[in-house]
Subunit: 98 residues, 2 copies
């Protein structure tokens, strides 16, 4: 195979957006991600859980102003996976050299 496999956890629009947002930021909460991604709450919840299950993001649940607050941050594993994914998919962007 001339093409590197693409991590199925990251090869999804919403999950990729979430991870992209978490790169370079210390942490982000549910509503921030909701606003920036434009996703529905249900979809966001599911995809955060998948990223957590993959070990790519850490999720910390607390309360803020009496309301539940879900805070996400990228794990080292998640960052590594993101960087690998970006490298891998770039192979697909360059026309074959013969």
């Amino acid at each position: 195979m001339a093409f590197a496999p693409l991590d199925p956890v990251l090869h999804n629009q919403l999950r990729l957006a979430i991870v992209s947002l978490l790169v370079g930021v210390d942490s982000a909460d549910f509503n921030f991600l909701l606003d920036k991604t434009g996703a529905t709450r249900g979809n966001l919840s599911v995809q955060i859980t998948k990223l957590k299950d993959a070990g790519y993001v850490a999720v910390k649940k607390t309360f803020k102003d009496n309301y539940p607050n879900t805070r996400c941050s990228l794990s080292p594993k998640g960052l590594k996976a993101f960087e690998s994914y970006v490298q891998a998919i770039k192979d697909y962007f360059v026309p074959a050299e013969g």
Copy 2:
């Protein structure tokens, strides 16, 4: 939404690989794509059909040395879609600027 939507036709590993191979080459036949992508025949057949249905590739069926021969080439629409996809997904690669 801070992120451009990703064309679902191209946001699939095999279809993206096929289109990537077709960029910069005049045409490619089934076995060439089979070899370069490492896909199964069934999967390749299905994904070529989807790309054809989307108007991204033209498919010409002939015979070569007595055997059926399926030749694929990228349409202008397919090239445009590919370039847009590449541009769009790059938004996801750059850490947010604040």
